[in-house]
């Protein structure tokens, strides 16, 4: 969005409180959604739960096309539609709910840097494993992506998406990487996150921030999604403090609903 439009939207956002009927849209959970999209969606859900904002998750087959930026997930609040974690964080901030207020400037810089690390390494690795690895693409990604559509539309859309992602990978220099190198990068990223987390309950002090939501979203999804090989999940499992971090967040924010 342009700068003037953004400023206008945040002014409008500040005017109303968070409604009861806010909804979050994502692709169909059982058949369609892919690893990277599910990770982003879970991150946003975790963030909203941490802020204590109620949101209803709705699954639609065309969620990707409804989204204003083409990325999942997006939320529909009042009469506004916002997609992706970054803009959603700003949007909730305009409404007065924020998790990173108590951080000073240096800590906020660190938080943003670590969030970029997750986007740069984990998300890119997820996209690579899904679309650039032929086995996974043929067995899992393409069938799932084309699930709601009939032949030949599904096939065309799936190949188009694959071509788009591969183009992006080439542009950032990941096109020439082998799967082994990508797993190695994921290990390094997890090592960095693990060292930063240490023995603390959350990344910054005792309070959850958007970084915790983002890391939880990605790691939990990697651990619980079945792919052609379990290598990715194994790499994450080797860091025990990250495992307990995921479990803790799941118990604190996601399990009270059932009981």
């Amino acid at each position: 969005m342009s700068l003037a439009a953004e400023a206008f939207v945040s002014q409008m956002a500040a005017a109303e409180p968070w409604p009861e009927n806010a909804t979050l849209y994502q692709p169909l959970k059982d058949d369609q959604i892919l690893l990277s999209d599910h990770a982003s969606s879970l991150a946003v859900q975790a963030y909203l739960r941490m802020c204590g904002l109620p949101v209803q998750v709705i699954c639609r087959a065309n969620a990707e096309y409804m989204s204003p930026s083409g990325k999942i997930p997006f939320i529909h609040v009042g009469n506004q539609v916002v997609s992706e974690l970054g803009p959603i964080v700003q949007f909730t901030k305009a409404k007065g709910h924020t998790l990173s207020d108590s951080l000073d400037d240096v800590q906020r810089a660190e938080m943003k840097a670590y969030m970029e690390l997750v986007y740069n390494m984990l998300l890119t690795a997820e996209l690579y494993v899904q679309w650039c690895d032929d086995a996974t693409a043929a067995e899992i990604s393409r069938p799932r992506y084309s699930n709601p559509y009939s032949w030949p539309l599904g096939k065309i859309l799936a190949y188009q998406k694959q071509w788009e992602v591969r183009r992006k990978m080439n542009a950032i220099g990941w096109g020439g990487k082998s799967l082994e190198q990508v797993y190695e990068d994921v290990s390094q990223c997890c090592q960095a996150l693990s060292q930063r987390l240490g023995t603390q309950p959350y990344f910054f002090n005792k309070q959850a921030t958007e970084l915790d939501a983002l890391v939880f979203g990605h790691l939990f999804t990697i651990l619980t999604t079945r792919l052609t090989s379990t290598e990715l999940a194994e790499r994450v499992k080797s860091y025990s403090n990250l495992l307990s971090f995921c479990r803790r967040i799941e118990q604190t924010y996601f399990e009270d609903k059932g009981s």
Partner: protein, 307 residues
């Protein structure tokens, strides 16, 4: 550590050992870790077309890309990060990711896509350093690759127009510079008192922006306002690269009246913002001249201060 190491990179100008970001990163790291490198600039050779720069040749192994080269040097026990704690190592990775995602697109745009800078500075520089007949098509080829890269990574879906993406990448870059400035504070280097790979990366990204003679660059003026970052670049140049090249320009700039400088920068920022708003209002059909317009001008002038 036995074989001699040779680095192929772009040559230097404007007081810097190299004008290319990635090459600068490797050169700076080499100085910090005490590596003996022979620098082989690819200027005026046909390698400008074929080689991927920077490239390290050590005996028989050839390594490309700054991160791979730094890993290679670390394996050879030429390690500038030896004294960092595990957590500081993790911070290094995070900050490098921040630079790559937020700052690199805007830097590439400033040098290669922005029409004025490209035609006045980048194109003549690269054309003059390439042999005939490469000088005719090499700069435009690099510019096309850069534009494609920016659009593919930052363009959203079908909006493959650079003007839509510009505003976002510049505001991301300015935020990134602010974050670096907060992190650096008043220290000389990012971690303790000795330079590390993070310092090499930040230097590689910031130095060309700081020293180049750009005609129109809001990003450069933003950087110039952040004194601790400009001081950081000058320190590294003076301390590690001093013997090779003197830096004549900066002292002259400092004598300008500080207040006048701040005032001109503020005026430039405001006029840029107004120009941008004007373009946006003209190009976006939904914001037709109705009530909302005067409100949006108020709110965006308010939002200029946190930026």
């Amino acid at each position: 550590m036995a074989a001699a190491m040779e680095l192929r990179c772009w040559g230097g100008d404007w007081g810097l050992p190299s004008v290319h970001t990635d090459s600068l990163v490797v050169l700076a790291y080499a100085k910090f870790s005490g590596t003996k490198l022979t620098v082989a600039p690819v200027d005026w050779t046909w390698k400008t077309l074929t080689a991927s720069v920077p490239e390290l040749v050590c005996g028989e192994s050839v390594v490309q890309e700054p991160t791979q080269i730094l890993n290679f040097l670390r394996k050879q026990r030429l390690n500038a990060d030896y004294e960092l704690t595990a957590r500081q190592g993790a911070d290094t990775m995070a900050y490098i990711a921040l630079l790559e995602e937020k700052l690199r697109p805007a830097l590439l745009h400033t040098f290669w896509v922005d029409a004025e800078n490209y035609s006045n500075l980048t194109r003549p520089w690269f054309a003059s350093r390439s042999p005939f007949p490469l000088n005719f098509f090499l700069p435009s080829r690099l510019a096309n690759i850069t534009l494609a890269r920016i659009l593919v990574t930052k363009g959203e879906g079908l909006l493959h127009r650079i003007s839509e993406v510009e505003g976002k990448i510049y505001s991301d870059a300015k935020e990134c510079l602010n974050l670096l400035s907060y992190r650096l504070g008043t220290a000389n280097y990012f971690f303790d008192n000795s330079p590390t790979s993070l310092d090499a990366f930040v230097f590689g990204f910031l130095a060309p922006l700081h020293k180049a003679d750009l005609t129109s660059s809001p990003l450069q003026s933003h950087l110039r306002q952040l004194d601790n970052l400009t001081r950081f670049c000058d320190n590294i140049l003076a301390a590690h690269f001093n013997a090779d090249k003197p830096c004549p320009l900066p002292p002259a700039m400092e004598t300008m009246d500080a207040n006048l400088q701040k005032l001109t920068q503020l005026v430039n920022k405001e006029s840029n913002l107004i120009e941008k708003m004007d373009d946006n209002l003209r190009s976006s059909p939904q914001h037709k001249p109705h009530r909302p317009d005067p409100k949006s001008s108020l709110s965006s002038s308010k939002s200029s201060t946190p930026a």
